[in-house]
Symmetry: C2
Subunit: 244 residues, 2 copies
Amino acid sequence: MTGSLVVAGLGPGSDTLITPEVVQSLANATDVLGYAPYVARITPRPGLKLHQSDNREEIARARAGLQIAASGGRAVIVSSGDPGVFAMAAAVFEAVEAVPEWQRLDIRVLPGVTAMLAAAARIGAPLGHDFCAINLSDNLKPWALIEKRLRLAAEAGFAIALYNPRSASRPAGFARALEILREAGAASRLVVFARAVTTPHERIEVHTLQDARADLADMRTIVIVCNAETRRVGRWLYAPRQVS
Amino acid sequence: MTGSLVVAGLGPGSDTLITPEVVQSLANATDVLGYAPYVARITPRPGLKLHQSDNREEIARARAGLQIAASGGRAVIVSSGDPGVFAMAAAVFEAVEAVPEWQRLDIRVLPGVTAMLAAAARIGAPLGHDFCAINLSDNLKPWALIEKRLRLAAEAGFAIALYNPRSASRPAGFARALEILREAGAASRLVVFARAVTTPHERIEVHTLQDARADLADMRTIVIVCNAETRRVGRWLYAPRQVS
């Protein structure tokens, strides 16, 4: 019996954004593992074991999935969005590195629609020009590095997608991030706050950076700081293709 | 009769990466418009008109789609990857801006799996930490701006996804980009060349930036310059979650 581990992205919320290859891997799975709200999106069926775990237990979850694969099971670890963007894929390879025999396992990463792409699509095309993505959580990197990247990203003129802008345990970081971007000369730029995008709870607001308040974001919000050239057309925003 | 325009992403190549909402929009379409190789991916059927155009005719294609919608048709403009990332969505809103009555049309952008996410998934998790995406085509922006962004992205420690690295009309830019990144101190970084990802012609190679040659890329290649911390584990690469 040959096992496998798939690391699959469920997209930002709507099932209409789950790719057919992810649907197929779930149909073949013996075990689905993930953060509880993501596992809750999987339809139970006989022969499928669902393993829900806490948000912070990424390495333990990765190891559990690899152990199931090593024992002949077909495990799927589910992530929101794309598993390679601030999600489970990196944790899986970190776990593989620690146990060399796991390198021989059948492991596949299945990409998905990451939150910034879905948010951008709902409001127009704010990522139509060069852009960057920064995870504002400082659980695993120093805050000073985040500040440095924000300053350089503003100087480069990138549109800036901010993941995990704000959580109960890190209430102050996002306000500071907005301040740094204002100091970096980006105060007149437009900022998109897209919460729970493509779900029934979706809420999208646009402000200038000057007027943006930190409490407009929570952990279900993706924030896009548009580039300086971004234009409003009716209810839409877009980054022009031509920049001089 | 109410028309509509959908701007849809077909993903990087494999039909198993097309989202159900895009499949649905194509099933409802009266007209599909796009660059010829993308339109060639659509299955013909009675009642569906296929409009193929050249790569450079983006604004003309956007206007044609908007005109079909204004006349009551259900037009779908197809892009490779995600339509919001260096693709058709920005061109559509640029066309809308020029003709104010088009703002009242039913326009939707449907996101897709953009090439860098699919390439990253095939090789592991090189975009698992902060990253940026830069379009190396200087058709619509000055080359000096591309150079500035490359230098700042290297200084920020981003993984760097390079779209449209090389074309017959711009043979020298990509070699220069590699040189700039080496000068910026990134010579020991790993570089992923992912060509025609998720198609039968897929070819993925990894080199150090020091050893990378410009002729490893063409217009069907997405290049990912990994961040400095990226590790190899067997056939995989990943960006560690923890950075000090």
